[in-house]
Each structure stands twice: as structure tokens, then as C-alpha cells.
Symmetry: D2
Subunit: 336 residues, 4 copies
Amino acid sequence: MTLRIGVIGTGAIGQEHIARLHGKLVGSTVTAVNDINPEGARAAAEKLCPGASVHESGQALIDDPNVDAVVVASWGPSHEEFVLAAIAAGKPVFCEKPLATTAEACQRIVEAEIAGGRPLVQVGFMRRYDAGYRMLKEIVASGQIGEPLLLHCAHRNPSVPAHYVGDMGITDTFIHEIDVLRWLVNDDYVSAQVIQGKRSRHALNGLDDPYIVVLKTKSGVVIDTEIFVNCQFGYDIQCQIVGEDGTANLPEPATVPMRKNQIAGQAIMMDWKLRFIDSYDVEFQDWVNATLAGRVDGPTAWDGYFAAVTSDACVEAKRTGQIVPIETRAKPAFYN
Amino acid sequence: MTLRIGVIGTGAIGQEHIARLHGKLVGSTVTAVNDINPEGARAAAEKLCPGASVHESGQALIDDPNVDAVVVASWGPSHEEFVLAAIAAGKPVFCEKPLATTAEACQRIVEAEIAGGRPLVQVGFMRRYDAGYRMLKEIVASGQIGEPLLLHCAHRNPSVPAHYVGDMGITDTFIHEIDVLRWLVNDDYVSAQVIQGKRSRHALNGLDDPYIVVLKTKSGVVIDTEIFVNCQFGYDIQCQIVGEDGTANLPEPATVPMRKNQIAGQAIMMDWKLRFIDSYDVEFQDWVNATLAGRVDGPTAWDGYFAAVTSDACVEAKRTGQIVPIETRAKPAFYN
Amino acid sequence: MTLRIGVIGTGAIGQEHIARLHGKLVGSTVTAVNDINPEGARAAAEKLCPGASVHESGQALIDDPNVDAVVVASWGPSHEEFVLAAIAAGKPVFCEKPLATTAEACQRIVEAEIAGGRPLVQVGFMRRYDAGYRMLKEIVASGQIGEPLLLHCAHRNPSVPAHYVGDMGITDTFIHEIDVLRWLVNDDYVSAQVIQGKRSRHALNGLDDPYIVVLKTKSGVVIDTEIFVNCQFGYDIQCQIVGEDGTANLPEPATVPMRKNQIAGQAIMMDWKLRFIDSYDVEFQDWVNATLAGRVDGPTAWDGYFAAVTSDACVEAKRTGQIVPIETRAKPAFYN
Amino acid sequence: MTLRIGVIGTGAIGQEHIARLHGKLVGSTVTAVNDINPEGARAAAEKLCPGASVHESGQALIDDPNVDAVVVASWGPSHEEFVLAAIAAGKPVFCEKPLATTAEACQRIVEAEIAGGRPLVQVGFMRRYDAGYRMLKEIVASGQIGEPLLLHCAHRNPSVPAHYVGDMGITDTFIHEIDVLRWLVNDDYVSAQVIQGKRSRHALNGLDDPYIVVLKTKSGVVIDTEIFVNCQFGYDIQCQIVGEDGTANLPEPATVPMRKNQIAGQAIMMDWKLRFIDSYDVEFQDWVNATLAGRVDGPTAWDGYFAAVTSDACVEAKRTGQIVPIETRAKPAFYN
């Protein structure tokens, strides 16, 4: 059986997902596309999934009887509308992060999904599908290092463009850690603090860079994460778990150890797109398989909501310098 | 378009390939199977590719009009017969290593393929598809370390069963290096020497273990490889290229760095089956794609023949302690 | 010329220093000893520096005309008295850390030394003499990684005895980082915060363990240090400097990389005494040389005072959970 | 008690040894010097050991009643004469490598020492005093990796000057491995083979570079060592012991791990003089201590002789391409 998919949003990432779902993965085909730019949608369809319907609106795509499930890859502010429409139509929907641009909007999606009575929504947090994070989670789960007590993490980009400003270090960058670390230690956050570092001369336009975000979980685990988006030297994702009996680190990407020019070393990648590229395939294959089986196995609407609440708290913590509580509504039984 | 595949040999590795080609990869389906044990074949088909024909003989499978291409995963001595039959039928054939059990048999296959006039045969040397070896080959090709001058390699198994005897260190173990190192440096071998190490007390039944095989290439590159199949500590594959301007090593498999029990370290895998498991998928997807396009992109019958001649020379070098020349017929233009 | 040294305090560490100064190093000899336990002093002298005078009191030792310089290795509460007496006698004095048990006492020493008009006091912060920290400081000073922006550090002990309680994580453990990190980045601290981690089940008697101390410097550098004194796996000192253009880490102690028992790894030492053992020799040789030349090259009384003020602030930060300012008197020109 | 030392040869290395023995180490003083260039000797004495006698000849220095022990740091061809003279005078003598320039000369020294009836000669193989090799030897001795079976080594220099020609790769470079590896595995060599690698374009004047020397020991251990003196990237000494139960490597020199310019790596030193600089201090302190105690603890004349015989065999193996036996006279009981 083949899952017939409609893709809303045919920009760069939408096109990658179409290529993935229409040819590279098993069990899926793309039968419909839509974009706010109709010519872009048409061109993408011709190139990547010839024969797919090109719809005038996201709603029309969702209503298409040849669409079994929906992928939302349009820009953030449109996510809520399309996800709610898919839920209303009773169709499974994969929504790129963020689930919605505000915690309230995420909550509306959560409520709609619960009202619908069955799991339909998955959020595109692909790091959970990275082989390294999975190995690390297995180590933790095995009890080899005892209970996790502290996590030391870093999210470093070589540089960011001029339009990267304000709180994007939280909302665009740290948002990935927010989801994956919570999944890793299987615990919820209760507070956030942001500690400003000394500002790098490479930080443009008054951007705060670097800083440290400190999250605390319900059971008391403390997570410090360095956010440094102008570190110059490479795209570098670090995660060390300090447990009662030992420590465990996120594996470095496999690279060729070299000795050359007086240095024994290994290349660090510069392009973030390459770091988690394999995890997209795993994520979507997993989503296709689970969807065909009538399940949602990946990050849920609740996870999307939790990430939004946490992100809001971090932004406030950054603004105020205070320790800000992270308070969500009670977790509905629906998501257990 | 979907490639309809018949699989000869439904033992452990045959079943893995069926599962891969019938469900995991894109563009292929298994429509027929055969095994010397008909009940095994039937059981495998029911479990892994229900609906596939179960043929009485390899020849019948090859003649099946619903079979576009053949995979030979039966035991070594039967390879020659089935590969020649597939060539005679004009059907593409993927043959697990070895291509055949003697250099002469390999040569007959080479001649048959040339006589047929088009490339049909690929040999199952999966290491060429390993991400690590590919990175290493790219580094060499980029010129970053200059011309390769020396290679230091090791092939270590934690232990081998009692039926692993005689020259299997060459024919079963080193055979992988024979192919992949020749591909890595893009050069042919001209001589072989075997230097016996001090025998490990863990070596059973008079097995020589460890020893070093030294190969020399046409351009003068010297390759030393430690073969140690009772090293106890893990399955460990090493390859260092020493070039004019630097060195480059095969990447270690990505693992979780840990600190625990007074050791800072990383797990070494014990099971060789896990080390190159991803490369089988890449290998077969590549074969399916190339076959559908009418090409052979992977290791050819000529590579299988070259490996057989080299393996024979190593066995003789091991027996005599002498430096043994590696002499093949001239490479037919067909394989350029 | 030989420096004739009197050692006050002949316990474990006092005896190590006697052995070092009387035989292992060049240019020094131990001519007098004293201890609160006179028999211990006599036994130590007999064993380690036969012929040395055994004095009834620290003051008598200081007054001995055969003593050119004094080493104070008695217990902490006696340090102030002996250091002040040495200053009064105009004799150079090396005082094991802490310089004194309160910031006020340290300040009295600072004032006495200034009043005396010439540098006489060195404090026993031996990490500044560790080869690894020195390499790291050189890298920073070279500008290779740009301005330091953040430091991530850890001070881990496998376990602590039952008498290790209360704030000793600050006063006995973190005190080393307080001095060496300030020296490393050549900057003063302005505030401290302590973030409690999840408590390890291995922490005895209600000890808080682990936690993170966050120091901020005048120029804005943020330093987070994990203090974890029951980490089980080893004595482990980490320091990473994140600069504008790159990162640099404290070197790991050189150890033999091994592959054994399914692990590729290196031993972590369990005994903290071994980690900085070489630095004691360097520290005392440097002190002997500088003292003979009439200088103080190592950590000064001012550094001891600064460490005491910082330690007090950390203790308060731990108690209150607040960000506590670190306020010292203005640095006297005497110490520039 | 202080050992009064006469140093023959006040070139670069002689001056280093004078500085070491006259001020840096404990228990020694340099009381006399001599050099073929009398003005050089005088200048060195003035600068490094003012007051020392400057002798007209090595013999005069040896006969000086204020000289208890002799260090020979003159050029190689003069070693035999001075060592024999010291033996004749009954004075302990430390001779820089080589002990003498031919195996026959070494044998004459061995015979003279035995005839004299007590151990007097130590040869300057400083690698035995390197902390890394010592750790490695301890690991082997502890039995942790079982019996050594194979050793994989490398001796790499970034480049060599134009006057480095012919067999200097053996006589000047590999000579260090010859001694230290024999000491490491506590076994004698029985044969040598040299395998020429592909010649680097950086090798000047027809120098063979790189090549592999294969030594076999009495108990069957095989040792392969890459000699590559134009490797460009750094001075790089490698040694891996493959034992029955695991592997152990020579530690890398401690360096600062850095991330910078897209590389995660560590500096490799370019200057060979820095690599074993600490071991000279340990070596001479050990020699002073043992000499004062009437012993020879370090490499003996027999070790110097064994190294010379091995070096000769390697040179022949390089010339002939054959496996050359290493045959020495029987080891005299004197050296057990």
C-alpha cells in the first residue's frame, strides 16, 4: 500500500521533502502540491512529481480525495491554519517546525486533535531521528551511566546572515535542543535562565552572541547550552550527559582523521544542512510507515506545544535576565 | 519502472538480500527464488516475498520471464554455473563474493561476458559502498595528501570458530581488503609477501594468527595489512594512507564517547555483521539503479578475477614465505 | 648560592615539600622544621633532612638565622599568624593555600606586606605551573582563538570521604579553579552564581553534588564550572575556552591508548595527587629561583586575597541561589 | 656527594649536557671540558661552567683527578678512543649514541669493559627515559594486553637537509627504534628486511624515502617500522603493540585540542629536538644517581653493540632486498 501525500509549500525545504517522498523512500508518493506562489508549485511538480495535482489553495489540497496525508512545509505563520484544516478533514499531517508561531496556537491544535479523537499530527523535529542522538538515548536508557544529572550542550554556527536578529538564537536555533534534549532525558522543563556571554566582535547588528541557556527539569536535571552562531570555525553540535556513574557524549560525525600541515585533525563541517541530512530520510520513512499503520510515532502536537511554551520562557529569560518558570497546562491523557 | 529480481540461494545472506530488495529499497521487487533446499526457499518466499515463484533449479529461475535480473547468494562452488547461465540468458547478475572459487573460473566468466558484448556482472564487494572508505577515497582523489606511498591496514576479528582453518585468513578475510584497497588507490598489485607474526595462544587448531600481508602495486605503493582473527577485543578495521604530504585514516564508526569505570573510551563492535551493514543497502540500491539504466557501476567480473588471482598469490606467499609475483592476463578494453 | 628553608607543618604535604626542597630541587636546602606535634617534626627531620633544627614554635623557626625563607604547610587556621610573622621578620614566605581562612585575614596580610615595602609572599596555587594550563594560556595569549568569551570547566573527583561536607566543594575544590581561571584569562571576577544540579545518589550526608558555579569577569567572560565530587569514574579536570575565532581545551594527561575488552580507550586517573604532581616541582623550583633573585614571580598575597573574596561570594551564592557580586578593595599599585 | 664530570665535545649537544649537569640536575657538577676546537671549549666553559678546567686532549681530561666520570659528546668516529680510555682509567663513562661507528669497535669496548671487571659504560639512548615509552613498557609488563605479537611503528620527520643521504635513515634515524623497541619487548632481533615504498617527490638527491623495516625477534614478534623523513607534516613517532588480548599505543605528546578554521585538531611538533627533550633530563639524572651508587642502570655497552650489529644488518637488507639474519656473539654473563 502506498501513502498518497499532498505537500503544502514548495520552497527549498518543501522541494526536498517532495523528492524524498516521491522516489527516495518506500511506500509513499506525492499526488498533490500547493504553494502561495502557484508557478513555483507547478514548476516543482513538473520537476519532482510529474502528474501531481497543483491546487489553488491548501484547503483544496487537503480536500483532494487522492491525498491521504498532508505535509506542511509553508512558512511558519500559515502552519496553524493548514494543520487545523487537516485535522478537520481527518487526515494525518506532518508539520515542519514550528507547529505554530505561538503557544496559544499550538494549544488550539492540541485541542482540535484531542477533539478529533485520534492522533493525526507529527511535528518536524528531525534530531530525534539522528543516529548519534539515538545511540546516546540508548546509553542513557541502558542505565550504564546512571541517572542523568547534568547536560552540557553547545549549538554553534560558523556565522549567520544579517537578517538573523533578535531572539532567533532561541526561536530558530535553540528550538532544536529544546525538543531533542527533553526527549533525550525523558523529562519536562520547569525553568529557564539566559546568561549573556562576552559579545563576539563577529556578531553583527547588535546580536547577542554567544550566550548560555540554562534549563531545569522536573526531576532536577540542569541543562546548560551554549548558543554561539558566529563561532567561525564550523557547525558544531555538542551534547554531554553527566550521569551518576559516568558521562556520555553525542558522537562526532564520522570524518577522516588526517595529519597535514603540522596538524593532526579532522574536518568540521561548515554547512548545517549536511549535519542532520540523513535524519530527514529516517524521519519521513518512519512517518510514512507509522501513518500507513494508523499511528503517530514521532514528535506530537503536544511536543510542539511544549517547545513553544519553553521557547517563550527562554525569550523572556533572555530579556529579563531572570529565572523564568516554564508552565504548561496539564498533559492530556491523549498523549500518553 | 521496477526491476524484477530472482534470488538464487535463500540462506542467511540470501534472506537478507530478499528483505532488502523486496520492501526496503526503491525500484526492485523479488519475483522468484531458488535454493538447493526447496523447503527453505519456500519458507523464505512466504515470509519475505509472498507471491514469488519458487523454482526447482537456478536455471529455471534464470529462464523465468518474470525475472529481469539475478542475485546469486548460494554457496561459492555454485557461483560459476549460475553466473554463466545468467550471462547466457542475457540477464544482469549480482554475484556475492567470490565471483568463483578459482581464478580460472573467474576468467571463464570474464570471457563469457565479453563474448556477450555487454556488461552484466557485478560482484558483491560491499566495502566500496561504505561511507568511510568513500570519504577516504575522496580525500585521496582530492590530492590533499599528495600521492599515496604506503598503506597500513588491519583486519581484526575478536575470534573465529573452529571451522575457520588453513588459508581462510586470505580467502575469507583478506579478500575484502584485496578488492577495496586496489579500488582505493586505483592501482593494480604486482607482488605479495606474507610475514608470520608470533602466534597468539588464542589461535585454535594450528591456525597461523596473526600475520602481515604485504602487497606492492604497479606504481610502487606498499600496503601492509595485519590479519588477526583472534584479537579478542573487537571487530576492528583500520586503514591509513601515507601520502607525500600527509596521512589519512579510515574513519572509526561513530560511537558514544564515554567516561566510566576509570576509562575514557568508546565501545568497539564485536559483530562484523554490523560494521558494513549500511553499505549493503547502498550497494544494492546502486545496483538496482544502474541495472535499470542498463549499466554496471560496481565491481566487475574483472575485479572478481583480479581478486582471485591476488588471493591465490597470497596463499602461495603464505605457504612459501617468498615474495610472489601477481600476474594476470592483460586487462580487456571491455572493462575500461 | 643555596636557599636555606624552614618548613612549618610536617604533615603529609609538609613532608612532600621537605623532600622536594631538600634533595630533589636545585638551589635549596631545608635547615629547620616545626610542627604542632614536635615528635612528628623530629621524625620528619630525621627521615628527610637530617641535621635540620627542630624548633618549638613557628616563630622560633622564623627567627632562626639559618633560615632564609619560610614554607608554611601547617593547617589553614594557623596560616595568617605565620605569614605575618615571616613578613615582620622580612623573610620570604611560601604559604600553602589558603593564604588565610577569611578575606579579612588575607587583607591584613596584604597590608602588612605593602607596609613592609617589598614582595615576600607567594601562595601555593600550583595549577599555574601545570604544563597543560601553561600551554592553554600560551594559546590564548597568542591570539589564535581571538578574545575568550566563555569558559566551560569541570572539576570531578571519583568520591569524597564522609568528612567532606558543607561548602567544601567551594572552599577546598573550586578554590583551585578560582585562582587558575582568573590567571588564565587575565581578568577579575565581578559576580558568582551557583546552580544546583540533580543530586547524585552517591553523595553522602546531604552533600550538594553536583552543581555548577557561574563566574562572570569584568570584561564579560562567563565561566561555568561543574563541581562533581562523587562522579565515580575518575579524577577529571576539564577546561574549554571558547574564543571569538575558535576553541581550545586543557590537554588530557598523556596516557596509553588501548583497545581491550571491546573498548578503545585510555585510563583515567583516580588519585588527584597524581594529576598535578609535576607542577609542584615546577612551582617550588620557580619559587626557589625567584626568591634567590629577590622576586616573587608566582601567585601573590593579592591573589590569595582575591581568591578568598571570590570563595566567600560563591559560598553565599550557593546558600541563596542568587547572583552575588564579587567586590574587593581596589588593587594596590604594589601588586602591578 | 657530588659527581664531578668531564665533558668531551662541546658542540651543540655537548653544551646542552653541560648546562644540564651543571645547574639543572641534582648531584652533579662539570669540572672539566675538552673539544677538538679549544676555543669552543673555552667559550663553553666560560658560559656554562665557569671555573672548569679546559683540557688539551680527551685523554688529559680523563686523567684529571677532579673528574669522577666522563661524558662523551664528540663526533661519532672519536667515541671508541675516549670510551676505551675512560675504561682504562676505571672511570664511568656516558657515551652519546653511537657507542662506536662499527660493530667491531663496539665489541672491543664490550671486551675492555668485561676485562676491567666492573660496569662503567652507558650509551645515550634517551628514548628509554621518555615518559610515554615507559608507560607503554609498564602496560606490556603488566600483562594487560597479553604477550606482544606484532609492533607497528613509524618514525617520521618533516624533512631532512641535503647532507642526509644514503643509509642515514637506518644509522641516524631508525637506530633509536632499534634500541628502544628491543628494550620495550625485552627480546633480541634475529632478522631484518627492508621494503621500499613508493618514493616521495620530496625526497632529495635520490634518497630512498619512505621505506619499511621489518625486524623479527627471537620469540617471533614481528616489528614493522615506517621510516619517512620527508613526510612534510611534522615530527611524528608512532608505536603500537598488538598483544594477544589487546593493543597499546605510545601516547601522543600532550597538546591543546583546538577547533579553528574548520578543523578539530592538535598541533604536531615540527622540531624533533622538542619531542624527547624531557627524557634527556631524566636520563642524565638517572645516570648521575646510578653512577654515584656505583651502578650502570641504563643502556649498556652490550646494548650499543647489539644496536650496531642490527643497524649493519638493516643496511645490508636495504641494499639487497633480502631477509638478513642478525647474528651477534653470545651475550656475556657480565651483562645479565
